[in-house]
Symmetry: C2
Subunit: 132 residues, 2 copies
DNA sequence: CTTGACCTTCGACCAGGTCGAAGGTCTACG
DNA sequence: CGTAGACCTTCGACCTGGTCGAAGGTCAAG
């Protein structure tokens, strides 16, 4: 099977698969005499794994480590759980940041509502005078 | 005033200021005969504005538009409010995505807890079998 | 005049890919 | 056999928002 079909089965773009290969995330497949990459079903399973892990937003380095374990036949459970725990922590942090930002934008929006008609020329200063 | 002091006053890195200038976000300042950028207080105010808008995570293109209005002496209120509204919408979306992701990671973590000791060799499949 | 702090430009690098150009391969059909 | 067209190859640039380092220039104080 060539890269297009493998991509379709795995739910990835061919360009992404080549990129993963270049970055050492997945092993390089064999080639035809003409230079075409040829994938087998076990390779497609690896690509599906990559897609699944990326859909969890795990960094490529973590994905590479997990795929490597999988290729070696070792259970990657521990690595998967560690990566997921790291990602969870990062997400909690990002959610907190975004909530704070959402509140700030809400306050600015409300302030702009009140000010824009009254002092159109000074609105910016008033709206943005909040703590930098 | 040279770039280092302007950067300090505005709370930015000199490299960031040069970057903003290259990207047309802020106007290019005058130079000394030796080629050093020289900033005046109104320029520093623009840089502070950029920093404030970037602290709200507004995209550089939006910041550039707002700064341009400010330089022309026009009140950028409308542009500021539009940019903030766009950013708010994006943030709502991101928060929703992250909440969903957090839930999914929590489920995986719980599943891994239950499985990792019992079926270490098949843990990965079970943990990741959820919908891709 | 030298020292040292500061500045200049240029180019590479980060994540995580995407897109396009120029060219090669493979398959099916006539 | 030839060729059309779908697919593939590599390479390099581009995206966002900057940061960092190298090689070299400038400027004030001592």
């Amino acid at each position: 099977m060539r890269i297009g079909q493998a991509a379709e089965l795995a739910g990835l773009e061919p360009s992404a698969i080549r990129f993963y290969e270049r970055r050492g995330v997945v092993p390089a497949p064999e080639r035809t005499s003409g230079g075409y990459r040829t994938y087998r079903s076990d390779h497609v399973e690896l690509l599906k794994l990559v897609r699944r892990l990326r859909s969890l937003r795990l960094p490529l380095d973590d994905v590479a480590e997990i795929v490597e374990l999988q290729v070696k036949g070792e259970p990657p459970c521990t690595a998967v759980r560690a990566a997921i725990a790291r990602e969870q922590a990062a997400i909690e942090q990002r959610i907190r940041d975004l909530h704070r930002l959402r509140e700030e934008l809400g306050r600015l929006e409300a302030a702009a509502e009140r000010l824009s008609d009254d002092w159109p020329r000074t609105c910016l200063c008033h709206v943005l005078e909040a703590p930098a």
